[in-house]
Amino acid sequence: MATQTPIAISKGDTALSRRLFFDAVQDWLTTVDHKKIGIMYIVYALLFLVVGGFEALLIRIQLAIPNNTFVSPQAFNRLFTMHGTTMVFFVGMPILFGFGNYLIPLMIGARDMAFPRLNSFSFWISAFGGVLLYFSYLGGDGLYGAGSAPDVGWFAYAPLTARIFSPGHSTDYWTLALLLSGVGSIGTALNIVATIICMRCPGMRLNRMPLLPWLYLVTSVMVFVAVSPLTAAQIMLMLDRYVGSHFFDTQAGGSAVLWMHFFWIFGHPEVYILVLPAFAFANEIIPVFSRKAIFGYPAMVAASVGIGFISLSVWAHHMFTVGLGPYGNTFFAFATMIIAVPTGIKIFNWLATLWGGKIQFTVPMMFAVAFLFQFLIAGLTGIMLSIVPFDWQLGNSYFVVAHFHYVLVGAILYMIFSAFYFWYPKMTGRMLNVALGKWHFWLFLIGFHLTFDFMHIPGILGMPRRIYTYEADRGWGTLNMIVSIGAIFQAVATLIFVYNLVSSYFKGEVAGADPWDAWTLEWSTTSPPPGYNFAITPTVESRRPLWDLKHPEDPDSNYEE
């Protein structure tokens, strides 16, 4: 959206204001501008974040005390399935594609993505997938019984999803909504790869490209290799359910484990697809607020590519209890442990970037610092889970739920919050309110740690996941209550954040082109940028073109290679 001065409309001019409104709606519905599409992805994801969070609140209320009857078992099973499916496919993926869409062309000095119409198509088909998934609540018995919403878990294990065990359409909603979302994901990933490879501005060799586009490049290649197996498995599932095929039909000799393999060949790279963009944000934000270049750029690139590559070979660490045999278990244990090495390298590089710097604790930096500690912990509990016999105890328990929420919320969502505070000024021309930002940060921090630190313990005490209630004499009650209280803090903090986003748009301090004194190309345009991004395509000679301009006596190009 170009900088607009509000047009004064006289009172009698409702026809004009209606027409302007209609024009604006039409503009957004038909746009192929990567910035607008990026914003639509982000707003869409935020809406589903609130919805998915609400589902989590209902789950936590049900689990706060043993033998609770807040929701029925059937409704609970639908809630946790929808919560997981929503958060992964309709919050995580869209928000990351949204930021990627917005930032990548700006960071590489391009005017738009490689295929603007494909960009728009990918957004709308993903959006439709989300609507279809939520339409399921209205099907079947209707809203009170949570309708026909999927209740097979977000990984929909066979043969629970076969027609005989899941009559009705809950599985079908899951499958179709995700098939659509998958098409959108592949389209956007294709766009990102083509844009990065083919549309960099002159002088921007791949080893001068900022780390954010690098990580999105790796992520997008992973999307091709990971989302397709899910698409294939879902086609097989639909064939089983409607055409009578036997892919996962154990009565006909089919294999339930085959579904697990196919799903996790998607599912594990998927979580790296979600986390690599979070790393991308950290790679841009931490240097700016340490006032130093990122430490070890080549190693960061190599580590990211390494993570992407290795993540394709670890999938069966979700299946250690399935009976792969000692050799299978050993192989996947090794692959999973090895991925800790490039991941650790990234953490050390961030630490080294901070070291010797001049650290400014702005709101985006506060979230990035919390990310560093929390991602460290999440990685370490991940290593614990890679120890196969330990996983025989911890797997499928609340320890795993705590671990992956530590990654998804503690690392990824935190960096998403950080990215919001950092790039909101660029997107809207206004700064987000700092006081509200600090309230958001501290409330969310308290809530996050109450919930997810304590959640590890019921897992250690034997509490499996996906249970709508639990026995009173297991000793899990108090811990579950604490976990549930933390959820309330997080909910309040999120609402403060949403309020900040809306109110700062109208009342926020005017930002200017470069409020953070940063170094990548997006900060060389106005805030928000004009539709065409750059009037003259820039030429770059180092990784930090704006640093070179601001420090002509000591440009980066003296030190690179």
Binding site: M236, A513, L549
Partner: protein
């Protein structure tokens, strides 16, 4: 644009990046290849595991003619691109027409094979694991052939109407990449289903 910083320095040397269409099609091919690999894995995994019903060596015959036709169509589409590149539009039309014809013969061969299997050998997707994996894998490939033939027919139409010129060479080349991919998948399917799996 008063607040923005203008970065403008003379370009040193030529700045040439790969073509968007080719990179885009390569990405699509990688994604589609991953889908096919999963169906091939399912096929291989279930070899010999059908509890009852017809087995591959009972009912499958090598589809030699169809295969020759399909693989030759890769050659003809290559010549079509080459002809367009040299501005020979009517020659391009001829090669495109041949490609569509050869692809059509392949599809007809598949249809005939399936008719035989369903009505004379009693093998459907529901019959057993072999039926399930055979029809889904070969059918997935056939659906990609159909999409390719539709696109090639469109190209042929544009070519016949004189609307396709030298400027469109790269687009036709991108389409031909898709067609080569479809043929390459057939090589794999042929080897797995009709040679290795029988």
């Amino acid at each position: 644009m008063n607040e923005s910083v203008v970065i403008h320095q003379p370009t040193t040397g030529e700045w040439k990046l790969p073509s968007r269409g080719v990179v885009g099609m390569a990405c699509l091919i990688v994604a589609e290849a991953a889908i096919f690999i999963i169906f091939v894995v399912a096929y291989v995994f279930y070899i010999g595991k059908s509890i009852a019903g017809p087995k591959p060596h009972d009912v499958l015959e090598l589809p030699i003619v169809s295969t020759i036709c399909l693989l030759s169509s890769s050659i003809t589409v290559h010549f079509a691109v080459s002809a367009l590149h040299h501005g020979k539009r009517s020659l391009c039309s001829i090669w495109l027409a041949l490609t569509v014809l050869l692809g059509g013969i392949f599809l007809a061969g598949t249809a005939q094979e399936w008719y035989q299997l369903i009505y004379h050998d009693g093998l459907t997707i529901q019959t057993n694991l072999f039926g399930t994996t055979f029809y889904s894998l070969v059918g997935l490939h056939a659906s990609h052939v159909i999409v390719g033939l539709l696109m090639l027919s469109l190209a042929l139409l544009f070519s016949l109407r004189g609307q396709m010129t030298v400027k469109h060479t790269e687009r036709l080349e991108v389409l031909s990449l898709y067609w080569h991919f479809v043929d390459a998948v057939w090589v794999v399917v042929f080897l797995v289903v009709y040679v290795f799996g029988r």
